[in-house]
Symmetry: C3
Subunit: 161 residues, 3 copies
């Protein structure tokens, strides 16, 4: 009583699988593709043309930009920022009909921010409140609270400033 649920906004050109569960106040922008069994928390925003793979779990207040690709079963915490054209991967041995294929999606902990155009290699964890600079190629886990950038991404320290 006294508080009304905020509506979920889905652009008419977006595709949301009927099994997806979207939290109150969440917006799905044009041409986005939300696959089966995705769940988001409250007040998320998923940008134009992004694809969120099956079974991905997203927390509250997550902002996903334009043209982002997130593979199946990725785990994303609360208040995560994912910039435009970020690409995440889950296949360590990318070959057609690869018998060794085993999906290894990334994990993004709460408060992390991933800059535009970055690529995450399979299975990496981006620690809480870490910052991944734009254009980073992230080949290893990123410790909580650290700042990384480059190809391959490495940790920035005071000496880099």
């Amino acid at each position: 009583m006294g508080e009304s649920a905020q509506r979920v906004n889905i652009h008419p050109t977006a595709q949301v699988h009927p099994s997806a569960i979207l939290g109150d106040g969440t917006s799905i922008w044009a041409c986005a593709n939300i696959m089966a069994n995705v769940t988001t928390g409250k007040n998320c925003s998923i940008g134009f043309g992004s694809e969120i793979g099956r079974g991905t779990v997203i927390g509250d207040d997550v902002r996903i930009g334009f043209g982002v690709f997130i593979p199946s079963n990725t785990r994303i915490g609360n208040s995560v920022f994912i910039g435009p054209s970020v690409t995440m991967t889950d296949d360590k041995y990318p070959r057609v009909n690869n018998p060794k294929y085993e999906a290894q999606p990334p994990t993004i902990e709460s408060g992390a921010a991933i800059g535009a155009g970055s690529v995450l290699l399979p299975g990496v964890t981006i620690g809480s409140h870490a910052l991944v600079g734009a254009g980073s190629i992230v080949t290893r886990d990123v410790p909580s609270g650290s700042v990384v950038a480059g190809n391959p991404a490495r940790i920035f320290t005071m000496e880099d400033l």
Copy 2:
């Protein structure tokens, strides 16, 4: 008299906000998204699936490729070439609900060319007739007429050739 206006071509799957102003001879390709108060000059081409943010001003004869992201209020001169999958940014401190947020869109001067897959950090200026090589991560202003490449992008000189 004797000269007729060229029509604007908008693909039926593109989305163009009613407040956008598109110059004669401009083409908007499939699934592109042209937001409020965008203006383009004459004979521009905006590629498949690209998003042009609110209030962006684009000159004449500008060619924008597939899957390009341009943030709000970007300034783009005449005869600029922007390759496929180029991503521009405007947020120097990309965090959700960041109190320090202040949009800093890039500026692209006339005659510049930005190669495929490049990322521009917030607020950079690409000088007139500069060439940004494919896959560059542009962290600083690029002087007019120079050639840059790499992550982070740096100026190429005779010694690199």
Copy 3:
């Protein structure tokens, strides 16, 4: 007899030019754009929002991910893996109205794999069974069976492991 042709699956939001020829068992996912005179072999998959340029020839069992851009007249062999957000180019001197423009699409030989977010410069050949690591900027031909990564991409050897 005893074997029936597998159907071609085209998502209703995909755009396939009437002149394109798609092999049995091929799937075209949402919002993909298949241009004139493209041909694919059997059992291919072309991902969400990808654009395949005019006249491109693709072999059997090729898997193309989300948001891939492939220019006109590219040649792609059999069993090639192209990860999400890979961008290929064909214009060595990317300028608007460039009088020197001559299309130089890439060639991808059979069994090659190109990791997510990679960019191929004009005219490069990716040799058979080569592996291009995620986020690579490929400026030169990649020999058959080799592994490359980085910006610019270079060949990895035992010493890098």
